[in-house]
Symmetry: C2
């Protein structure tokens, strides 16, 4: 495909903040494809899911203002960033929204807590082709070199083929260099959950407080069509994600309840 | 069915905070059914979706400690409340989680931003029968009298029939009194979205700031199987909701992309 298109407008956001290494990698990956506008949180916003800010006003700081790369920082959540971008900052609806590259996995049920994927879902609701990218390493200095190449390749495929209405893509990269990565695998979301173990401490005046911690439990580690299996086996996982949460088969069941 | 069961443990949370009229209505509704433990945010947490608190520690305040009604307040999100309840506060996994009654609608795509439904989804991931209740009036003094009666009736049906694994229910009440309500309707999530219009203001030192505002746009106002239609026509809507966001039909499509 023809790569750089001057008229292609790409919105980039994340949940680790505009200064994170991951979003810089995503800018590097997307720059050959079009004009970039970054609208990202001023501070890290991990775990913010699809949250919006209603209790305090939002402020926008202009960080960079080049012809092909503009960067804005917002004191809000990833979803706030998408809403402000679409409604205030961009001259028109962007041709693509990419979010990430997140420092840490958003596979399986982690998608529900993910600000990265909250932003991608918000894009898809607004009928923008949207993809969230995450690297399963939580390291601030994680190696994004393979992710830079593969993100661009995935975006090129998405622009060529189109993403269905109200669907976005959840892409996770394994912790592996380019030569170790076995390929790209289309997956379903793994069934699993976080087993929480709170870290209970006592402050200097004797009052208890709790830090959220825990570990991920996979309900189906052997299922080869899941994103967790793909990542464990050094594949890049892509899960197509929908904003319609209705369980259609349960509708039939509930209609038998005698209300 | 037999109503009060001393051994039945019911966890109640919400996103408007433990002092909201809506959660008091839900306690009133559930008290005839079992032992109640309320674990709810100290302050309103509207729009917090499935967010979790990772940047500051959580603190728990004991508000009430009666045999059949305990109330705890947490300086976190609704999902934090559920996690702390399950892992720190309750003697065992509860038999039921109910969230709400929210002041304001969580129908259609509003579910994605909803802390009320974030808590219900968190319950379902932890295999607890979970139901989120919302009243479409945003009024702090909304009339919950019909909702008190109908919430109890819906919960009794759910306890009797069981809710499938990893599914929770999104119940919305119309703004109508008991005699005006036409019945309970099992629905799918309406396709629609929020059209944002930011309220742009200037502070005393001349800097711009933005308040998030906007209005809901329904993509399919005529569709009688949707929750928006049911509520507009004075039905109580119930949408069965799943935590698996995979779009299975898109998997087939993506497998044709040439990676």
């Amino acid at each position: 495909m023809k790569n750089f298109e001057k008229e292609r407008l790409i919105l980039i956001t994340n949940d680790d903040g505009y200064q994170a290494k991951g979003i810089k990698a995503l800018v590097e990956s997307m720059q050959p494809l079009g004009k970039i506008v970054v609208v990202a949180p001023t501070e890290p916003q991990s775990g913010m899911s699809h949250a919006i800010t209603v209790k305090h006003p939002l402020r926008i700081s202009k960080i960079k203002n080049e012809e092909d790369l503009k960067i804005f920082a917002v004191n809000g959540t990833p979803v706030d960033c998408v809403k402000l971008a679409i409604n205030q900052l961009l001259p028109r609806k962007p041709d693509l929204l990419v979010s990430g590259i997140n420092h840490g996995s958003n596979s399986s049920t982690s998608i529900l807590y993910s600000g990265t994927m909250g932003a991608a879902l918000e894009g898809s609701i607004n009928l923008i082709p949207s993809i969230g990218f995450s690297h399963i390493s939580y390291d601030h200095e994680a190696d994004f070199s393979a992710a830079v190449i593969l993100s661009r390749s995935i975006v090129e495929k998405a622009l060529k083929n189109g993403i269905p209405k109200n669907i976005c893509l959840n892409v996770n990269f394994p912790n592996a260099n380019h030569s170790e990565i076995k390929g790209i695998k289309i997956c379903r979301q793994t069934m699993g959950y976080w087993r929480e173990e709170f870290d209970k401490r006592t402050d200097p005046i004797g009052k208890e407080y709790f830090w959220l911690t825990g570990y991920y439990h996979n309900d189906e580690p052997e299922a080869q069509d899941t994103d967790e299996w793909a990542l464990k086996n050094n594949f890049v996982s892509i899960v197509p994600v929908q904003s319609d949460l209705t369980s259609y088969k349960t509708i039939k069941l509930l209609n038998k309840w005698d209300f």
